[in-house]
Symmetry: C2
Subunit: 219 residues, 2 copies
């Protein structure tokens, strides 16, 4: 009895997601959907990325949270355009929320749009937001078994960022094991260990962004 | 258009949850619903608790996961009764899943039933499982702002366990700030900092379990 309802919701989202994809193509915007558990470090990574690449690109952020606007204020402090979506308890963003949030942004001046999803390793994976790529962030403090236990979000992601590598000496986390589980979910996934706090490993993430941005420009 | 569907799902769950509550009362079982983000340490805490209190109580575990049975195998290795629920992608347990799982347990021999929910700080909070208390576990690696950003799960919980205190020297986490946000969501919530890895702080958690178990025996 529930399945037809879920299917309708997903079908409706696919339609809006298609409109978003066309809009991003028309405007030449590289759109990235960032997903992770709560506290994996999405916002800290964004703050650092927005500051480090501020000379290279004009960037904007759509922040998804249940009810606060803390994260939008944090990323706006870097000078980037930012808009907050409050889902009022909803466990993921959907295409219509992103479409509404775009009204608050000046789309003509954006090279890269980061969409920071609600902190949740399950629900966001089912809802496309018109993005060029999904990016999943996993903190090493969460354990190397997470890509096995929550495979869908890794299945739909182009890259997995293994964040908080500065904590590796203090936790039981095997990078190879985590990467192996992620590749079982998605053989094409790229894996970048990094620490948004110390800056270690960020160069590979920035290189990936440059490559993605260059490919979008040619398209 | 979606609201009536959600309401029906929640209403149906409340009815089953009431049946579970009556069943747990009839059998004298203390039932606890453990919720957290992925990787906050629910299973490690359970393994340790099951071993440390094995002389005191007969304990059983219902494990909720999207698709693996890793956690059920881990807790079964302690000697406790264990049963796995796979939600097939679903982001939380509900009452009917728990009712079905109980068929696999010998209810006559259980003092404490731990229900380990799917790793998710959003969805599980809305679905009562007939529990005597909700227990939310937050890892200090997730950040002290999480009770402000995900208030519902703390609102419905009797206690918050602040796990992985052994990582406190290496992360930015203010225990008082996290406790303050949790108390804004729920003024009655008890807060226990602990490390399931080192054993620090576990005594307060065990004291709370003893008190809850004793209250259930008198009921």
């Amino acid at each position: 009895m529930e399945i037809p309802v879920v299917r309708n919701v997903l079908e409706a989202n696919e339609r809006i997601s298609g409109q978003l994809k066309k809009l991003f193509a028309d405007k030449g915007i590289l759109a990235l959907n960032l997903m992770s558990s709560p506290g994996a470090g999405k916002t800290t990574l964004l703050e650092r990325t927005l500051r480090d690449l501020s000379e290279d690109y004009r960037m904007a952020v759509i922040e998804g949270d249940l009810q606060t606007d803390n994260d939008a204020r944090r990323v706006a402090a870097t000078g980037a355009q930012a808009v907050q979506i409050n889902t009022q308890g909803g466990c993921h963003l959907d295409g219509s929320m992103v479409m509404a949030a775009l009204e608050a942004l000046n789309l003509e001046g954006i090279d890269i749009l980061f969409i920071e999803n609600v902190g949740n390793l399950v629900c966001p994976a089912e809802f496309s937001l018109g993005e060029d790529a999904n990016v999943t962030i996993l903190s090493v403090a969460e354990g190397d078994d997470k890509p096995e236990k929550y495979p869908l979000v890794f299945h739909v992601s182009k890259i997995m960022l293994l964040n908080k590598t500065d904590l590796l000496p203090y936790v039981d986390f095997d990078l190879g094991r985590a990467a192996g589980f992620a590749r079982t979910a998605n053989p094409e996934i790229k894996v970048f260990p990094l620490s948004a706090r110390t800056g270690e490993g960020l160069a590979a993430w920035y290189d990936w962004l440059h490559t993605m941005r260059a490919a979008k420009s040619r398209a």
